[in-house]
Subunit: 504 residues, 4 copies
Amino acid sequence: MKKITTENRIPWNENFKYCIGTGRLALALRKEYLDGLKKAVDDIGFKYIRGHGIFHDEIGIYREYEWNGEEKVMYNFTYIDQIFDSFLEIGIKPFIELGFMPEQLASGTKTVFWWKGNVTPPKNYKKWNNLISATINHLIDRYGIEEVKTWPIEVWNEPNLSNFWENADMEEYFKLYKETVTTIKSINEDLIVGGPSICGGSDHWLDDFLTFCKKENLKLDFLSRHAYTSGPAQLIPFSCYQEIHSKENLLKDFKTGREAIEKVNFKNIPVHITEFNTSYKPLNPVHDTAFNAAYLGKILSYGGDFVDSFSYWTFSDVFEEEDIPKSLFHGGFGLLAYNLIKKPTYYLYQFFSKLKGDILYRDDNLIVTEKNGKLYIIAFNPVEDVHDITLYQTLELPICKSEDTVFVKRSVINEEYGNAWQAWRKMGRPRFPNKEQIEDIKEAAIPKFETYNLPVKEGSITLEFVLQKNEITLFEITGIHKPKSYESPYYGLDDSRIVGYNNL
Amino acid sequence: MKKITTENRIPWNENFKYCIGTGRLALALRKEYLDGLKKAVDDIGFKYIRGHGIFHDEIGIYREYEWNGEEKVMYNFTYIDQIFDSFLEIGIKPFIELGFMPEQLASGTKTVFWWKGNVTPPKNYKKWNNLISATINHLIDRYGIEEVKTWPIEVWNEPNLSNFWENADMEEYFKLYKETVTTIKSINEDLIVGGPSICGGSDHWLDDFLTFCKKENLKLDFLSRHAYTSGPAQLIPFSCYQEIHSKENLLKDFKTGREAIEKVNFKNIPVHITEFNTSYKPLNPVHDTAFNAAYLGKILSYGGDFVDSFSYWTFSDVFEEEDIPKSLFHGGFGLLAYNLIKKPTYYLYQFFSKLKGDILYRDDNLIVTEKNGKLYIIAFNPVEDVHDITLYQTLELPICKSEDTVFVKRSVINEEYGNAWQAWRKMGRPRFPNKEQIEDIKEAAIPKFETYNLPVKEGSITLEFVLQKNEITLFEITGIHKPKSYESPYYGLDDSRIVGYNNL
Amino acid sequence: MKKITTENRIPWNENFKYCIGTGRLALALRKEYLDGLKKAVDDIGFKYIRGHGIFHDEIGIYREYEWNGEEKVMYNFTYIDQIFDSFLEIGIKPFIELGFMPEQLASGTKTVFWWKGNVTPPKNYKKWNNLISATINHLIDRYGIEEVKTWPIEVWNEPNLSNFWENADMEEYFKLYKETVTTIKSINEDLIVGGPSICGGSDHWLDDFLTFCKKENLKLDFLSRHAYTSGPAQLIPFSCYQEIHSKENLLKDFKTGREAIEKVNFKNIPVHITEFNTSYKPLNPVHDTAFNAAYLGKILSYGGDFVDSFSYWTFSDVFEEEDIPKSLFHGGFGLLAYNLIKKPTYYLYQFFSKLKGDILYRDDNLIVTEKNGKLYIIAFNPVEDVHDITLYQTLELPICKSEDTVFVKRSVINEEYGNAWQAWRKMGRPRFPNKEQIEDIKEAAIPKFETYNLPVKEGSITLEFVLQKNEITLFEITGIHKPKSYESPYYGLDDSRIVGYNNL
Amino acid sequence: MKKITTENRIPWNENFKYCIGTGRLALALRKEYLDGLKKAVDDIGFKYIRGHGIFHDEIGIYREYEWNGEEKVMYNFTYIDQIFDSFLEIGIKPFIELGFMPEQLASGTKTVFWWKGNVTPPKNYKKWNNLISATINHLIDRYGIEEVKTWPIEVWNEPNLSNFWENADMEEYFKLYKETVTTIKSINEDLIVGGPSICGGSDHWLDDFLTFCKKENLKLDFLSRHAYTSGPAQLIPFSCYQEIHSKENLLKDFKTGREAIEKVNFKNIPVHITEFNTSYKPLNPVHDTAFNAAYLGKILSYGGDFVDSFSYWTFSDVFEEEDIPKSLFHGGFGLLAYNLIKKPTYYLYQFFSKLKGDILYRDDNLIVTEKNGKLYIIAFNPVEDVHDITLYQTLELPICKSEDTVFVKRSVINEEYGNAWQAWRKMGRPRFPNKEQIEDIKEAAIPKFETYNLPVKEGSITLEFVLQKNEITLFEITGIHKPKSYESPYYGLDDSRIVGYNNL
């Protein structure tokens, strides 16, 4: 039995829901995308959204053309306005990532992803700066400087990988950063600019980048990187499998930002993990599982200790980096599958968004918080290696002494309950399920809810429970309603007099 | 083990959802009422709705006044138009009950209910007939004769009780019927008129009424009565308790209509149970329980054999016959509690609305239907007298021989799951729950859903299950999806290669 | 020509939309009511809503009963919770009026209105105080003290009329006030309490009430009264006609509050006109007319100079003080007719809600405001006595010197346009219009919109316009969009090359 | 004065709204698209929708890949299911166009449009036929054969233009048709297949195609072609200008289908104009104008005489054939501009969708229909060449003799009213208008509505009216409501007693 007290309280921060990832921004024109985003924002409360492709030709901000023999540029904000309007209407703000390169502005032809993001430096930095200036000025005109000042602006994505930045050329990236930050700050000093948005594998970029900014006296308002925890992909057609590394490994990556800041003695700036997940592959079925959710329980619980945000990549299976999804479940990154079906990891986030007040206790399988006498407990049991393991827990929890009894509400996700993927597998994996099947899957995706009472003894209760394999459980525990002096009771009430309830 | 075959098929009729009861029509101006009705019609598919009070002064169709020394009548359809417009927009039609008496047209002052329905005969039958004529003509003008011809019109409510018809005066009721039916048929012969809408206790009214109509050569398009199964009320303030009689007792009342028709050798006309429930009291907590639902399982299963409709009284706790509800749960008739909370009996109706095709098997705890190879099973276990009884069932069910495996979806309601009232009790019975409590109750009211596979052996499966106390379970069983020749498979797919799923 | 300058700016206050009147609170359970309120709050931005009947038995907060020989009281907040929940969800707060008397708590049987509000003092002030205490404590439990502290609480309604307070007994009213304010302040000192909510005709009550509060050292957080401007009703069945007094007369009543405060040297407290309108009769067709709107133009323009709020009585024709409405248009108080049809006075409010910034100019037919270089002009032309009078206006208006041209948008309501009542009259006054007729009326109720350009000369424009009979016109005038340096122009654009537009 | 009688009635057919065009199907994933389509279907009642790109790689039905050294094909219906689900939910059915070519199935690399539709024949007809078979079989599985049998299937688009079919190779197209129709009919004989979907300029294709089908004994269920009426484009950056040919010219193209059928003595099959408009360029500002609407009045009026459908190209400015729209108004084909702004031609369609019953009269500027005594008149005044021409009309119209007075409702669109484009021009052509500007434009886009009465003399009324330049006017004329014997009048009612209305 773990005895939990109120003595060592730590405020629970909500960094876990500061930001959420998305497929390329052009997808935000779609109805399924916007419906899903609204649901996620309403249910979980994400504050920022970050994705690639603001300058992709599909959004089409940048167009060169000729007129009367002169070369001209037409900046076009038709779609980005629609997209950002939608975000704000839904109640979420853009965390802008500047990239990839418009084809006409690119110095090369190398692209990344099915949707062909150009990953080469600008052919001309003056034109790049004009593009940045036209875009930022337009956003300020449309949304107001006070609003835009709250939107972080990240320069490029994963420049330390040659897939995402030609030759992973550090010097060129530093130049891009310098040009970009200088252009933006010349519009308004208070606009928030950061980088270098690296992926793992060459973490020295963090030190080098901070050192560069220091030396060049460049503004840097936040430091950003990504973190995934999976091994090489074992490919099959339209899918793949991977090892998943330890949770500690992932948290270690989280810590590198502040470590680098301290190391080079940079001023204290926020650190954002602008992408993270278990697998970095959008076709790995692990994303659809309860294991994925249970595994990430510890990350959501501890991550906010080390970084100012860590942005799950991504909120929705509306995503096309490796071509169009070929089946309802296909291993997509999304918290939501198509048809707004909640995956287990969605519930993990929804459960964490219920936590309030201060942390009373945390361990590898458990977090307990308390606010105004109400207890919130999330327990998780990721089971990686063994066939079937259940976890027995007994907690002694502190309760207000004036209470006699508490009301316990338990919400359960595991391999049996709240698990759309498992229901879909049992159905025979219909790639294109019909309406009736979708309804069945949605119902199967609902958590199991249980309610009961527990007695309070000398200011504490004993909560015993079992976690099934890959279970995530949320307990919400409150004192039961006691009539106040000015409330009217029901005299004579006795439920045991109802037919069938003489044992109540 | 029960072996169920496809040999003795009986078509499943949907008489159980032909009609639903409602509190007095004036309540249909309310938002909570209309939201609930829409939900019930969408979820269950009721076709008609019947309630009291079309002529109540709160709807105000009838107003006498003086002008220049002359006595005049103003007919006013402002509210009844709003109400019937709402019904039709929601997709349900009125089953009209003519009554009670407008105060200015009444011969006496006796009233029924908190809302004071006047239960005395008209002071003047010519004026009554004018009111009927003005009303029916107005409805035809507004909705078209083809529509109004589909609306049954019932003359008065429970005239065999002196509470509802002064002195329970049979002769006077027969006069009312004669005047009314004659007036309506003179507008259009095809309008549907019926009665006598009696309650139990003086069933000879059925014979007498049929005999009267025959003798007087009056049109009668349907015969109607009510059926409740509870004993005398044991009152406490704002609530009560009652015995509940046997289910067979209730079905016996259902049969009296056709028996009477045969007895007096009347032509074959539809029989409608225009009200039924366990308890006839709107403040009996039994209505909120899983027992109520499990008890009614057999009634919904067999009722349609004996009558053309049986209308549950009522769809919603928006109801005021015994004053305004004083607590979220208060023993109201509603399938829905306030805040659109589904009671167990709502789910009973929702489960029955899933049944399709033909009945393969029925008994006191079970109904099995089949359509296009899909099996639908509802099982119920009402437990009245003993503390805790579970029911074990094993069924051998017929399945298409080409199937290897079936997908089973189970939805469960009992004392633990899908039970808003129990959750509310555990919360400490908050009379006026706040938003958070309402959300908790709504989640607790969701059924438990389970999905699994069963093997098919020689064209049959063996389904074993346990019913907990007062459980209602729905099974939906289908063959699993098998790819067709023109469908594309996923080569290399192997879920056991997903981390954590090596035992799949 | 009136030359308008920016020299004498007065801030435009929005007191005109601080509060809006409603029919008795029980009507707030209805869908038509709530849909209309949401529309009005969205379109106009009312902040508070005030109506009668919080203690009426139809809401049923107070019930006496016996149990085991003892007399008990059951307080029931089922409906008032629903109502206030709805208000807050819509975005409007209650301006509470305590009254009328629950039947079981009343000392007499006198009632007012079709819906029978009991207007007699409490039979027992201890029980009254308990009712007040239970109610206010419940509201604080449900909505939080911080919220309830923003809700003004007015004691009773029009006690200076014997229709509304038996014998118009001033001494008894002062007692009621004293008991009530003392009870409320004992719960929390910061709760806002006021009165005496008198109607015109005995304005000395204001002085007497202030003097009483001073003498007795009673808290008084605001002073309230009503103001109507019509003569005696000339009755016909279900309708009436009346003289309408001058606008100045109405504004004179507005001023009496602050005059009284100064006269008795009371501390400076807010003054609320908790009801006002032209006619005080809910069946006077003047409420449906453009004249009503044009007449009130001056009141909305100047009223906020004299009082902290003036609450139009009422937002909707969902209203039953003189029985149920007997026709779509029937002279109801509502800004909105049934079916959410906007009357001309609704548009008056909607136009005034567009005003921003500072007042540059006002007269009997005109108000001009300006904010950030945008001009807002409302002009109105009430025509009472003569058959057809149009009003010619020419204004010279100040515009930013950097502009060459302005964009003018004009919205017009008069006897021809934006006038649902006139369209309905031309249709033959259908009492119960069908869906197609409702659609026609709604389209006819849309204002006429016109847009055009005017040249700017030396920082000013000349705006000429004609107001038709009973017209209300809104002008919104802005400089036209001029491309900024970072915006991309369309080269070669020439609308005169479009077929049919060679004269552009 | 034109005297119009009821003698020569012709039934009004609704061929004008049988089908509507759309940008490539992938756009149907977008929210703006779906919102607009729902609006158009609700307002106008289109029954089918036709657009390009069902086989475009962006929808991605066809994917070749290797597995274990074997070449495989993966058919993927994720997006087309979403799209067709959306269509059916909105209430419109697909008019399928088979094309263009998946990249991996193409024999060449030639593409059309910004979105790069591949226009080359299949590299392998067996694979093409497999694709057709997989697709049609999938649709039948999902939507049911009864539904899919109602969806016309057109083979390719404009094969007579080398832009759309490599080399405009007739022989190759005929082969494509033969392979395709044979494949489809082998699935189900009742599926509807047609072609050749040609554009103007080589109309002999119609004869040749019919002759080919006859000779080869191929099924052909409908004949299809396109019709535009504009001259060569005079290009400027991102826009263009064109001559518009005469309306008669356009109608002449409509007639070619039935002429060809008669000429080659083919059996009588439906003729569909599967695309038409004034200009064939998506960047010609004429599409935004009232002239476009007024010009098309005659086409909508007469077109249904000659063809079974004529599908306006397109319902929405969500369209990208010539890159992303660069401004709110940009000359797009849409009936709706972005933000669901109705263009004048939208209103033309909405007005025509009101026509009911029989045509009493038609000429170049006028159509009059009648149903159940209600008259519907649409008048239009396209003005191409001259600066400002108004058109005076006087009609004598037949009315039921029992009427004394009629109610006239007039809805007006012209250069001043109901004209979003003109309002936007006056605003200074903001390319990316903000919310407030959008609201202003939407209000300016509302027609002017007028209502009045006219006297009936000996069964007729005289309707005089003036059409402004490029005006489209709808009159709806009905007898006014006369109370029936069972309706209650208002005694004493006299509007002239209302203050301000003594002249009524």
